[in-house]
Symmetry: C2
Subunit: 223 residues, 2 copies
Amino acid sequence: MQEQIFSSSYCSALYLRDVAKVRGKVFVIGREGLRNELREAGIHLNTDEDDEPGATIFNCTLASDVKAVLVGHDDKFTFLKLAKASCYLRDPDCLFLATDADPWHLLKDERILPGSGCLTAALEAASGRKAIVIGKPSPFMFECISSQFRVDPAQCLMVGDRLETDMVFGANCGLDTMLTLTGISQMKTAQEYKDSDRSSNHRFVPDYVVDSIADFLSAFKKD
Amino acid sequence: MQEQIFSSSYCSALYLRDVAKVRGKVFVIGREGLRNELREAGIHLNTDEDDEPGATIFNCTLASDVKAVLVGHDDKFTFLKLAKASCYLRDPDCLFLATDADPWHLLKDERILPGSGCLTAALEAASGRKAIVIGKPSPFMFECISSQFRVDPAQCLMVGDRLETDMVFGANCGLDTMLTLTGISQMKTAQEYKDSDRSSNHRFVPDYVVDSIADFLSAFKKD
């Protein structure tokens, strides 16, 4: 089962190892789960773990062998991490990667959990560079899946709850798309994209909509 | 002398008090200097000072009377500050302000100090909103100066070291502009903007260029 789950963290590790073939260390803005995914893929990490408490961008240690910066979700994001990553990205040969572009996640009590897209936006401003985004809507994750399982895009359905990532991902990869209304995006927004005069907005429109993924499961029942 | 210095912090305080006439508290991402500027203008602040150590967006206190979020330079920026500000900005009546748009500052040893423009970019992504920028290149600072001193734009010279903020500010306010080469922007970039086919890039081009502000001071000498 585990080998059938492709997270943006796992695909980022594959990208660094197999596509970019990074030689040197990777500076990670992210949580332990992402770090573990990278370590398991054999990637060498540089983190801020060695910094003295109270270190600043004026006096902190900067490694000389950082060849990539990877930004993921990080609820321990600090100004120092942002500043260090900005320094590493001054080297044009240092790769700039983001696990995903999710701007935020809605919590149960209407609070907002900023996503890695925010941290990437900060670093893009600080570095004047654009990150390569591994996760949806970039087709790289589908390429990862295709490389390990024989899948025919015409036989796939992309199911998701966010129009701006999940549905666009499907469109980018030639998959039919289905929106579930149990998450971020609602019918009204999908309709607005559909009615929009801008053809680029039509990539946000799902082929199918279900109230809940549970409604869809009956399709799996044998007749 | 002090009353002749208009910082983006001071002008932000004036904007909140006199233009937006904010009733309620202001959540500040910024340093003590900015907070003091606001307090002196009589603005009520909400900061994260009351949070327990180890608080997260899941369990922290959120105030009910925050009517504006102001982002300035903050070398103690954290994920929690970003998350709290994102929550406040879900209220469409909560104002979203930034002291300035500076993306980064170059330190002596080629290190990068991220500017408030980065933090604003993160919060814009997390909130899906655009900040009102008080500092350059917005003309609001010149309006502040004009409101307190009689100044004729035609008699003013805007001197600065960054094409994308200082020169555009001058252009926006109808001032002649002068670039000093002792800071961020160099002659090559100014020339590239001048030679650009995109007319919007011509706003970045200074009217005058000096190697150093010192070269210009001789103009003040009496004949």
